[in-house]
Amino acid sequence: MFKRTLLIYCCLLMLFLLAPSIIVIVSSFGADAVTQFPPRSFSLRWYENALSQPIFLQAAKNSAWLAAVATGIATPIALAASVALVRSRFPGRDALQSLLLAPLVVPAIVTGLAILVTLSAFGLRDVTTRLVGAHVVIVLPYLVRTITVSLTQIDSSLEECARTLGARGLTAFWYVTLPLIRPGIVAGMLFSFILSFDNVSASLFLTNVRTNTLPLAMLNYVEFNFDPSLAAISTMVLVFALGGAVLVERVVGLKRVVGG
């Protein structure tokens, strides 16, 4: 009896969580000029419409590039920081940990504003640099978190053993520790990429008319249009994100990293 109740409860919960996505996906295939659910007839015309608009294509390219670069810069920083945080005891260690994880607690909109003010104070007006800087800060805590978790799960005697066998410290790290925390790093990079890709609040302050990210382009669009193009774009992004997650799961096993 209890088992069945639990099952029903879980199904309802899943439905509740997935409902918005399902509605978006279904309405993206609508043929009407206005987004509605359920659509009266189906077509792929809004996909065509979305893909034929240079604004979206350019913004998507920008977002993907930004997410990749921010992740690429943040990962080595996070890796080095995690090793220091997990392996060594030094004064200010807790403070550093809090500092690295702070963007998790501070609303992203505050981070965005803070970065805008700071960069302006230094006279840095280049949009690309601003965006990359901001996104590195925003994704860093997620990378530090996942990599730290992976590192703490590794027996420190493994690296010690490698050293007794003749490996220098860095060599031991490269051959023993790095392969073992790779799942954590890859998962962290995936989170980081997705997080950067759909960030609105920080980018809001830092973009301009010429350089835009996909979420902001969508935000601009929805101010004047309410056709299912956005639903179509959302569906495509969703498919990409899911695809990425499945790929990571296949390659490294997401459960091992997230569940750990």
């Binding site: 010690e160 007794t164 066998l165 031991a172």
Partner: protein, 360 residues
């Protein structure tokens, strides 16, 4: 194979001395065990030899060469860890050849030597497996092969069999002893299990509170413990504390709670000095009748009588001194089944010669 010379090493963690002025020489080809309770400094000493822990003061030499400031990877040591520390993402063969790879040994020679090492520990043909596909004993054997394949000057083992069950542990001990003898490798073994230390070692170094308590062969340690701590830790029975009444002609009289015992004196004994003694339980004779006059004997009552096959073990509470319980072991005669064995509650005489007592 190298000898090890440790001179006056010390290591503090904050206010606690993990190693306190330990000096120790381990001969080439010798099997030495560092024995003691947890926190006695045995593991820290081993890690200091390996270079995984640095010492505050003192000097460590391996094979006559000062290695005190030499980093771990240049010490040419083989180490086996308590949890085997096999690299989980590498196959057995990759694990074993790791040390050779780090030494840039040619690939062909790497695989040959790994195979030989695996055969040495009876795991030929397991090279392609992953550590998690092996049993606990097999994992520890791979770890042993991995440590030996690099032909280290010394082999260091940190409670390698701690996680194994008793039976497997005994067979691994036997195998390890044979292997190290055959290869003649200088070995330092850390354990808190005195039986394991007795089985394996040429010599045992008993440690306590960061200090070296006693160093000697298993027989020396067991028969002539130098302190109450060693006697208790080795599980030696019949340890009594008393003080010296008379010293004369190489003999000493000790008084323990009103009973006076005679024994061979240790060189530096003075009247009034407090000291300990042990009475070897297998050298105590148990009889129902009083022994002839002139023999030392005390009267007691059997509290427990345990039949152990070839021997019987008795625990006897002394009549004159109710606080003392001595344990005695007698070889069973053929007619035990007929009821000749002494039972609990019987009043008996315990007697022994002077050689049964060791004073320290």
């Amino acid at each position: 194979m190298g000898s090890i010379k440790i001179s006056g090493i010390g290591k503090r963690f904050g206010a606690v001395a993990a190693i306190d002025d330990v000096s120790l020489e381990i001969r080439a080809g010798e099997f030495l065990t560092l024995l003691g309770p947890s926190g006695c400094g045995k593991t820290t000493t081993l890690r200091a030899i390996a270079g995984l822990a640095d010492v505050d003061i003192g000097r460590i030499e391996i094979g006559g060469k000062d290695v005190t400031d030499l980093p771990v990877h240049r010490r040419n040591i083989g180490m086996v860890f308590q949890n085997h520390a096999l690299f989980p993402h590498m196959t057995v063969e990759q694990n074993v050849s790791f040390g050779l790879r780090m030494r840039s040994v040619p690939v062909k020679s790497q695989s040959e030597r790994s195979r030989t090492a695996l055969e040495l520990v009876h795991l030929g043909g397991f090279g392609g497996r992953y550590p998690h596909q092996l049993s606990g004993g097999q994992q520890q054997r791979v770890a042993l092969a991995r440590a030996l394949v690099i032909e280290p000057e010394v082999l260091l083992l940190d409670e390698p069999f701690g996680a194994l069950d008793r039976k497997l542990r005994e067979s691994m001990q036997f195998e390890l002893r044979q292997l190290t003898r055959r290869l003649g490798v200088t070995s330092v073994f850390v354990t808190h299990d005195q039986e394991e230390a007795m089985v394996l070692s040429d010599r045992i170094a008993v440690m306590n509170g960061g200090r070296l308590e006693q160093l000697g062969s298993p027989a020396e340690i067991f028969e002539r413990p130098s302190s109450r701590f060693v006697a208790d830790f080795m599980g030696i029975t019949n340890v009594l504390t008393g003080h010296v009444i008379t010293v004369a002609d190489g003999l000493v009289d000790l008084e323990v709670d009103g009973i006076s015992y005679s024994a061979r004196a240790r060189s530096s004994m003075v009247v009034g000095q407090q000291c300990c003694m042990t009475i070897r339980s297998e050298k105590i004779r148990v009889s129902e009748t009083a022994p002839p006059a002139g023999t030392f004997a005390v009267e007691g009552v059997i509290e427990h009588s345990i039949y152990l096959g070839t021997t019987s073990s008795y625990r006897v509470r002394l009549k004159l001194n109710q606080a003392v319980v001595l344990s005695a072991i007698e070889v069973n005669q053929a007619d035990v089944a007929n009821g000749s064995r002494l039972s609990s509650g019987s009043s008996v005489w315990l007697s022994w010669g002077r050689e049964a007592i060791h004073v320290f």
